[in-house]
Amino acid sequence: MRHAEQIMALALVAFSLFLMWKSSELPIGWVSGKGPGGGAFPFWLSLGMLVASGVIFWRARRRVTPQSRDENSFMGYSTFRLFVVSAGAIFVMFLGTHFVGAYVMIPLFLAFYMRFLGGHSWVVIAPIALLAPIVTFFFFEIGMKVFLPKGVTEPLFYPLYSMFF
């Protein structure tokens, strides 16, 4: 935990510097007749972030915060597995949505998660994984007129659209 606290603080120092550099693409000082330049607000706030993250790092080095005194690991194996599988599965769901659409990826995600992490039986998984996209379709697309991305499966929905619209 102690190292994680320091690494995070250093990453935030670097991120603040990046934001300062990025903000300075627009004027950061006073522009005659127009007041503060467009980059001023984010630039000076990023400078504040830099100072704050510097203080966080300094406090972490001096072991002032509880995290900087904690010698436990930042993430145990079971937590790491949970985190990687959860975040990874969400990542794959989002990525797959670009290609095969939400209505393929949502049931796949639900089934994978419940089976792999939960170890649930297919009797439990199947109704949830199949009902979720159906409810989503009727609630969002038919009810709310919000059309989710469908990728290559788009043509499959044309008959449904013609039925409801």
Binding site: K34, G35, P36, F83, L110, P149
Partner: protein
């Protein structure tokens, strides 16, 4: 009375009931609080008139305040951050087999807290709105500074980390097109998605939807057990009698404290409920019973968090300053619906304001009935393992995040915010200031730049206008006070260590 006519319009009544039900459900699910419900369901409100929309969201807010107590009591995991203090005595009561009593106490205390706060709201909203009429861009900016300072002062979090998160939120709010010159600003990697800025909805769903669920999954590790309990009419009546005997003064005082803490910008229901718990314990004849299953330890935070939820609506409506992350999201919603929160709201849209207040009365009554009758159902739902609930919530985050702008760019941002938010949360970086800052950022920048242009860069204007000066002095006090406390604590620690050495 016109307000009641608005509240009882069929659409508004239906939205209120639906909101209460959904709020109760969302609040009862560990990992989801009113802020998640409001953030995830906000896109749905774009399809109804603004008055119905805010009634729906306020009902979710109210329902979630009730619902949060359910998992705090049954599982020992706070259903929402506002129900953290409820866990202290609610869980020991459940372990003793008194879960039904704790649940009834929570529902009744919430009802009393909600009712008292709505009465306060009705009495104090117009005077505060009139006072707010005196606010110009200078005062507006000073007030924003005060709101951020309140977060630093009252949050109880690590001060440098809180300051960092506020500044980070403000920088994120400036992504997109410059509000004065129209030039593109902070367009990362030239991705076109950044031209429309970063929506607070995206940030809130990422942090509170994905980030919070990752956090809850870690805490629970998929193993959640439920205490056994009994429930009957006779025991229910006995509990009501006991509450009247032992808790009526506590309910009143906690509701009053909660309401006024709720009004403070950025304080919200969580500090309100914790302060009420502390107050109840310090005033009790038997403080040692607290933490071991004292019913007043459930009553105090529950009365306070409901009262604070109404209180935090007041500065949002009259001044445009949210009292909590949830109201920060409500505020963003109001701006999207074309309603400008602030002093003119009361004169320009009275049907909206009084319709909302009347709906709060109605929602309060409806939710307590709903809460008591649904206790067995919620217990059944909470038995669902996290490994089933979590993926369903992740899918809801995906769909809810995509819907407002129909943009996969936003969906990816949700994942990034969720993962980064989770990692930062593990290191105790507070998330609420970040959400508050991204919502208030555009208003803060606009008011600051307007003042600077009008005054030709003369910053002393902030010190010469009375309201602005008062706000800035109060802000300074709120920043200095916790620093002073830290110093005092350090001194006391050194004094304690000195005799040992």
């Amino acid at each position: 009375m016109d307000g009641f006519a608005v509240a009882f319009e069929p659409l508004n009544l239906a939205m209120m009931m639906l909101g209460c039900l959904m709020g109760l459900f969302i609040g009862a699910i560990p990992g989801l609080g009113s802020v998640n419900g409001v953030a995830i369901l906000l896109p749905i409100t774009f399809f109804v008139p603004p008055t119905s929309a805010v009634i729906f969201l306020a009902a979710i807010y109210y329902g979630a305040m009730y619902g949060g107590a359910i998992s705090s009591i049954m599982l020992g995991i706070p259903g929402a951050s506002t129900a953290v203090a409820t866990t202290f005595d609610g869980r020991p009561m459940a372990i003793k087999g008194l879960a039904d009593r704790a649940l009834i106490a929570a529902a009744i205390a919430s009802f009393v807290g909600g009712t008292i706060s709505v009465i306060y709201f009705t009495l104090f909203a117009p005077p505060l709105a009139n006072f707010a009429l005196r606010f110009g861009s200078t005062e507006e900016f000073a007030l924003m500074v005060l709101a951020f300072a309140t977060f630093i002062g009252l949050g109880g979090d690590d001060i440098p980390k809180t300051i960092f998160m506020i500044l980070f939120g403000l920088v994120l709010s400036s992504v997109g097109l410059d509000i004065i010159s129209g030039h593109p600003r902070l367009i990362f990697f030239d991705l076109p998605g950044f031209y429309k800025g970063i929506s607070f909805i995206v940030l809130a769903i990422g942090i509170y939807g994905i980030g919070e669920m990752l956090w809850t999954l870690e805490q629970a590790q998929g193993k959640v057990e439920i205490a056994k309990h009994t429930f009957g009419i006779k025991r229910g009546v006995e509990t009501l009698k006991m509450l009247w005997r032992r808790s009526k003064l506590n309910m009143f005082l906690s509701s009053t404290l909660g309401y006024f803490v709720g009004i403070l910008p950025a304080a919200g229901a969580t500090p309100g409920s914790l302060m009420a718990y502390g107050m109840a314990r310090s005033m009790a004849k038997n403080p040692e019973e607290y933490g071991r299953g004292n019913v007043n330890g459930v009553v105090a935070p529950e009365a306070a968090n409901n009262a604070a939820s109404t209180g935090s609506l007041l500065p949002m409506l009259t001044l445009g300053i949210p009292g909590s992350p949830t109201t920060a999201i409500l505020l963003g919603g109001m701006i999207i619906w074309g309603l400008e929160p602030g002093p003119l709201l009361f004169s320009q849209h009275p049907e909206f304001v009084w319709g909302l207040i009347a709906s709060l009365y109605a929602a309060n009554l409806f939710t307590v009935i709903l809460n008591l009758s649904l206790i067995p159902v919620f217990i059944w739902i909470l038995r669902t393992p996290f490994t089933i609930l979590a993926p369903i919530i992740f899918v809801l985050c995906f769909v809810g995040g995509f819907a407002p702008a129909s943009s996969m760019h936003d969906v990816w941002l949700i994942l990034i915010f969720g993962v980064v938010g989770y990692l930062m949360r593990k290191l105790d970086y507070p998330m609420a200031p970040l959400v508050l800052a991204i919502v208030l950022g555009p208003l803060a920048e606009k008011s600051f730049r307007q003042t600077m242009i009008a005054e030709h860069g003369d910053m002393t204007i902030f010190l010469t206008r009375p309201i602005s000066l008062i706000c800035l002095i109060a802000a300074l006090g709120l920043i200095i006070y916790p620093l002073y406390l830290v110093r005092q604590r350090r001194k006391a620690k050194l004094n304690m260590e000195a005799p040992k050495s």
